[in-house]
Symmetry: C2
Subunit: 95 residues, 2 copies
Amino acid sequence: MDTIKADLKNYKALLRNYIETQDEKSLYGAEQISKSFIKKNILPEEIVNLHIQAITELYPDLSEDIQHAMNFLLETMISYGLAHQEFQTLREKQL
Amino acid sequence: MDTIKADLKNYKALLRNYIETQDEKSLYGAEQISKSFIKKNILPEEIVNLHIQAITELYPDLSEDIQHAMNFLLETMISYGLAHQEFQTLREKQL
């Protein structure tokens, strides 16, 4: 199994568990998976993308409005990620 | 009107427009609002928080599962934002 598929599988399992229980353990899982994403230099929009994939697999009958709404959030994050990368590049030039 | 309320109002209007039309203009709006958030040093989790507020105002009958799912996404972003800030601090120390 490649990394993206493994990440999606893990994220989906944690998300499902959180939806069912809203317990501290699932929140701790969210924190841990997030930290592992950071180590892999995964940008915030990629997490939103993973979230969209997970939620549409868990809820295949999800209303189109909610799917559009998530795509809008993804769009704001893409701009955010791009600007963040520019900022990083500038910082690195200053080093 | 304070800034957060104005941001929420703008985000909600753009989001509603995107849900209704999915047109390029709304996507451009997403890009612009995102850029204005970056200028104000707003972290990604704050955008997710704004998104949650907007979507629950637009869809007050949204299923609890979907609300929980968005809170889980928020949690992953909070960790991400924290780690990002630590990274920034380290970078600044290196300057």
